[in-house]
């Protein structure tokens, strides 16, 4: 009788136990939260306003991963720091999911990559989550893995995936009309974070504030940027919130160009608490700036 009672308790516990998910970035964490619903507990290692290239490997992050069932990596060599965190967690049962698995990469180098090209990623640009189509692929990857880890709630994950995909589809039809003005517009970005976003929404990156990825702007490069802004009548510079505004302030002062701070991840700015909000925020801020 006693053993039967314990068995029932254990079964009840296992049915109610949440799947612990840790994600490198807030974007994957939010999508996992939407797919997993009440059956998952999700945390992210990087904050939304942090540069995803440089995240410090802290022992406290290892503790987060220690009890996790699943780790969501960005992949494409963006979050190499995650490998040390995963190793340090000593978690033998962790499922490591590469969220880039279904994504078609952009800007894959066609020649040998070395440091003379700056901080370039040999497998292509890794900021793929900024296209809503790739958001759907990330969600599908996460759903499949949750179903395998927690088959008891497989139907719920399937339903939540459908809800997520529909929410993106609905937004896509709304975005098409509301942000039509963005198509064909040219702007300057600080870092090459936005090729997937640009491809989807029809924007064009003329040049970058960084002369090469990860390299700080030089005076010569800033002079070139001033000429480009004047010659091509560029009205907007878009930057991530974690970069210094020294170079952009200088360009603004010299040319009158507007500088907008984008949200490259969920939580990078106010009102970007979900993946959908983050994409809409970026469209809205660009529309506002380019309409002036």
């Amino acid at each position: 009788m006693k053993s039967r009672f314990i068995l029932i308790l254990l079964m009840a516990y296992s049915l109610n136990a949440k799947v612990n998910v840790v994600a490198s970035l807030t974007d994957m964490a939010d999508i996992a939260r939407q797919i997993g619903g009440k059956n998952v507990s999700v945390v992210s290692i990087a904050r939304g306003n942090q540069d995803p290239h440089y995240v410090e490997v802290l022992p406290s992050s290892m503790i987060k991963v220690k009890k996790a069932d699943m780790y969501l990596m960005v992949g494409m060599e963006l979050d190499q720091w995650a490998e040390q965190i995963i190793d340090g967690s000593r978690n033998r049962h962790l499922r490591i999911v590469d969220c880039s698995a279904r994504v078609k990469p952009l800007n894959v180098p066609t020649r040998k990559v070395d440091a003379s090209m700056g901080d370039i990623h040999p497998n292509g640009n890794p900021h793929y989550w900024l296209s809503p189509e790739n958001g759907k692929l990330i969600a599908q990857t996460i759903a499949v893995n949750l179903q395998e880890i927690d088959p008891a709630h497989s139907n719920e994950y399937e339903r939540n995936l459908e809800v997520f995909l529909k929410s993106i589809d609905d937004l896509e039809s709304k975005w098409g009309k509301t942000y039509e003005i963005l198509r064909g517009q040219s702007l300057i970005y600080y870092h090459d974070t936005w090729p997937y976003f640009n491809e989807y929404f029809g924007l064009k990156a003329v040049v970058f504030i960084e002369p090469k990825p990860g390299i700080m702007p030089t005076p010569t490069h800033l002079d070139q940027l001033i000429r480009i802004i004047r010659d091509q009548e560029i009205s907007v510079i878009a930057m991530e919130p974690y970069f210094s505004t020294k170079a952009t302030d200088y360009l603004k002062q010299k040319t009158g160009v507007q500088v907008v701070k984008m949200a490259q991840s969920v939580g990078a700015q106010q009102n970007t608490e979900s993946y959908q909000e983050m994409l809409t925020y970026n469209l809205e801020i660009l529309k506002e700036a380019l309409s002036k």
Binding site: L58, I63, R90
Partner: protein, 339 residues
Amino acid sequence: MRIINIFIFAILVGSLNAQTSVNPDISVIGQLLGSYAADEIELHGSSVELAFQGYVNPFARVDVYLHKHMDSEPIGVEEAVLSIERGLPLGLALRTGKLRPDFGKINSLHMHMFPQILLPEPVAQMLGEEKWGSSGIETRWLMPLLWYSNLSLAYLQEGISTHHHVAVEEEESSPGPAISGRYSIFFDLGNFSHIETGISTYQLVDDADQKVSGFDLKYKWRPDKYRSLIWESELFYKTAFSELDEGVLEKHSEVLAGYTLVTYQFKKVWNAGTIFDYSSDLEDLKYTSSGIFMGFSPAEESTVFRLFIKGIQHGTEKPQFLIQTQLLWSLGPHKAHKF
């Protein structure tokens, strides 16, 4: 017994996979070192560290570091370690090979990571000029607590080689096997800062001639990628005994030594700081030194220029003055310094 079986299994799987064509990560860190002391200028340009790193199988990885310190010295194996990080139960990890054990904060750091270029002299006296490393085995236990709490225990074939830098001659001793342990904890203090502290202990296996205890504390504040502040301190206490008669020991040496340093990173690529070293009994004389340093990293983690100016007071000797400059560069994933 189970742990030993898993360990042997991990190594065997490694040998079965030996036909893999996947290359390890290969890195080179080079150093150009200039110094000015006692009206003499020296320049060393051939100091390099070669790193080969990678997984040998799903359970174990290997990290090999070869180091050539100065122009006149041959290249040697600094570390060659097989580690099982995620293959063992109960939060255990195992490292074996030629390794630097987890003893204090500075012992396991490579020299190119130091913002102040040089190993503090009192630490060199406690742990050796090249710090403490030998062939052995180390286990690390991540305790099942809500915060990071790690216990490391090591057995090394050779204890700390003590170098005694006297003006003219150098005396070196190579003691027998030694054991060490370190208990460390780590806490986040909000989103931007954290604190780490640890206690360490060391002694020879065969006799109680050498015992070293250590305490370390590190605080770091990093609100964004352009600014950070680090305060790091470490204190060592060393005792040694001689057996006068059977069972009668006499304490004949007692040294308290340590350092404290503060470094501040500003405008992304610059950092500056200060360090103070102290030893109560370095060659039977009190030793103090204080210095200031500055670093410039124009290309993130792969290039750094450093300048270190240091004043030394050793007993009643005339104070010495030292200037060091360093240019570090790195190729590959093992970086020259933290960024």
